[in-house]
Symmetry: C2
Subunit: 332 residues, 2 copies
C-alpha cells in the first residue's frame, strides 16, 4: 500500500494544515495544536459540542466541524488518542458560556482523555456532559473488551447533538438527544483488506485473497467472523440481520441509513450495498427516512464498509434535517 | 482487488438503483434506462444540462444531478459510452422548452453518442449546444490520440453551466460560460495502483511495488512518465509546474482548486496533497478562491489523485458560489 505523504511523522499535521486551508471559511486549527475548531468559535450562547480521537478516520472528525455539527474535533496521531493540552485549548476557544458536550467513542484512551478534560472544565467553571458512543454490534459477545466500540454511528451523534446545540438548546437538552441517538443507533462493519499505519512496514492484520472479516473495528481490531468473499446480497442480508435484531428495529420504524466506506472501497460498490440494504428494509417493513452513502468514518486505506441504522422519532428526524455546513457534510 | 457486488454484469444497474433510492428526493433513474435525471424534471423554462459517459467514475456523473448542476447523466457500462436510446429518453424527460447543453468528455465514443443525440434533438426541434472538455494536460505531446482527454475538470463545467442554467439564462449564455470554463481549466493525474473492470481477471495496467505513473487517464490510459514513488511535496511540485505552465496561470490569478481522489486514496492523503498545492500556489502568487478535496471523478478502486485548477473571473466566481444540491455536492 503506497502512501502519498512526506514524512510519516508529519502526516497528521500536514493533513490538518491542508484541511484548514481548503475549508478556511469553516474551520481552523488552533496554532500549536491538532485541534480543529469552527473558524467563528466561540459561538456565544451556544453549547460547545466537542469530540476527538485518533487520526486515520477522515473525514471524522475534523470534517464535521462547522455550523450545525461540531465546535471542535481533537486529532491524535494515527489511531492514538489526542493530548490533553489540545483538549484544553479547544475547550477554552469554543466556550460560548453554555457548557460543553463531549462525544466520546468507547475506547479506553479516549475515555481517559475526556475524563481529564472534564476535570479541567470544572476548574474553569465550564459545565460538561458526556456521551459514550457504543454502536458496534459486533463486539458484545467477546470477552476481555471494554464493551461495544464507537464507530460510524458517532457521525449521527455529531449531527443530532450539533443540531440541538445550533438551536440554542441548553446543555441538558443537547445531552438528552445525544444520548437518545446513542441508544438508537447500531453499526456493523466488514473489512476486505487491512491498512498500514504510516511509517510501519506491515498491515495491521492479514486477510487472504478471497477472505473478508465481519465485525472488524475501525483500527483493525478482530471481528466476529472470517469467511470467504460472498455476493453483496448474501453479505448485506447477514449483516442486516445482526443489526436489525440487535436494537431491535421493529416493523414500521423509520430509520436513517448510513453506508460508510472504510477508505478504499469505491462509491459504486457502496451504492450496490445500499441497494441491498434498501431491499432488506423494504422486505422487513422498516422505512428509510434519510440516507447517507459515502466515506464518513474510515480506517486509512482499508477496503470494506459499515452499515449504520438509526431509529428515528419526530424529534430526531427534525434534528437530522436541520441544516449544517461542514467540510464533509452540508445540508440545505 | 476484491469487489463488493453481485454479478459483474449487474453492477451498474444495481449501483444506479442504490443511488436513486438513497437520494430519491433529488434524482431518479428513468425506468428501462441507465439515465439519472432530476426527480423534478423537466424544469420548465430552464436549459437542460446533460452529460454522460462510462460508469466507474462515481460520483461522476449521476452524483452531480440536481438543482444547480446537471439535469441528466447517462451512465454506460463500466468505461463504455452509454446507448443512444438512454440519451433520447433523458432528452425528452428533461426538455424544459429552452434547449439543452451537452457536456462531453473528449473520448471518441462519447463524442459519437452526443453527435447522434444532437440529431435526435433536431428531429424534435430542441436546440442543442455542445462543449467538449479537454482538461488533461498530460496528453498533448502524445501522438495518435484524439487530443486532450476530459477528466476531473468536467465537474467544474457541470457546476458552472448548471449554475448559469439555474439562473434561467438562455442556451447561448449557458454554452458561453461552459466554454469559458473549458478554456480555463487544467488537470493532471497520477496513479499509484491500477483498477480492475468488474468481471475481468486482470488489472487494466501493471505498476511495480514502488512505482507510480504520472498523467494517467481515468480509464488507465498510459501516462507521460513512470517513476518511483516520491514524497508528496516533490510529486505535487512537479505536477503543479506542468499544470500552471500550461494555461498558463499567472501571478495574481484567482483559482478554484480540486484535489480529486481516484477511488482508493484516503482523504488524509488528499489533504496532504492539497497542503502542498496550497503552498505551491502561495509561492507562485496565485490565490485560492474556493477548494474541493475528495472524490469527484474516480476510476473504480484505482489509487492516486488528480489536481485541477480553474482560472476564475468575477462571473465564474459567482457561478461557482451559486447554491447547488446534488447527491455528491451541496453548497448553501
Amino acid at each position: 500500500m503506497k502512501k502519498v505523504m512526506n514524512k510519516p511523522e508529519d502526516i497528521v499535521k500536514e493533513m490538518l494544515e491542508g484541511m484548514s486551508k481548503a475549508h478556511r471559511r469553516l474551520v481552523e486549527v488552533i496554532p500549536g495544536t491538532q485541534a480543529v475548531v469552527r473558524a467563528d468559535a466561540p459561538v456565544m450562547g451556544k453549547v460547545a459540542v466537542i469530540t476527538g480521537g485518533g487520526s486515520g478516520h477522515e473525514p471524522a472528525h475534523g470534517g464535521f466541524v462547522g455550523k450545525g455539527m461540531l465546535d471542535a474535533a481533537l486529532a491524535g496521531a494515527v489511531f492514538c488518542s489526542p493530548p490533553l493540552s489540545d483538549g484544553i485549548a479547544a475547550l477554552e476557544r469554543c466556550n460560548g458560556g453554555k457548557g460543553a458536550l463531549f462525544i466520546i467513542k468507547n475506547y479506553t484512551g479516549d475515555i481517559l482523555l475526556f475524563d481529564m478534560l472534564e476535570e479541567e472544565a470544572q476548574d474553569r467553571d465550564i459545565p460538561v456532559k458526556k456521551v459514550l458512543v457504543t454502536d458496534d454490534v459486533a463486539v458484545e459477545e467477546r470477552e476481555g473488551t471494554t464493551g461495544r466500540r464507537g464507530v460510524a454511528g458517532t457521525v449521527f451523534v455529531h449531527k443530532i447533538a450539533g443540531a440541538m446545540a445550533d438551536k440554542r438548546a441548553p446543555l441538558e437538552e443537547v445531552h438528552r438527544v445525544a444520548q437518545k441517538c446513542v441508544d438508537s443507533v447500531r453499526t456493523l462493519g466488514v473489512a476486505l483488506s487491512p491498512c498500514i499505519v504510516p511509517g510501519r512496514d506491515k498491515p495491521n492484520f492479514e486477510l487472504g485473497a478471497d477472505e473478508m472479516e465481519l465485525g472488524i473495528g475501525i483500527h483493525g481490531e478482530p471481528g466476529v467472523e472470517r469467511t470467504s468473499l460472498r455476493p453483496a446480497r448474501e453479505l448485506v442480508d447477514g449483516m442486516m440481520g445482526r443489526i436489525v435484531g440487535d436494537l431491535p428495529f421493529e416493523r414500521g420504524q423509520e430509520v436513517a441509513v448510513m453506508v460508510n466506506g472504510m477508505g478504499a472501497t469505491p462509491l459504486m460498490e457502496l451504492y450496490v450495498v445500499f441497494n441491498e440494504v434498501a431491499k432488506y428494509l423494504d422486505r422487513t417493513g422498516i422505512d428509510i427516512y434519510r440516507s447517507y452513502v459515502g466515506e464518513y468514518m474510515t480506517s486509512l486505506e482499508m477496503a470494506g464498509f459499515s452499515i449504520t441504522l438509526l431509529a428515528l422519532d419526530e424529534e430526531l428526524k427534525s434534528l437530522l434535517d436541520h441544516p449544517c455546513e461542514t467540510p464533509a457534510l452540508t445540508q440545505r
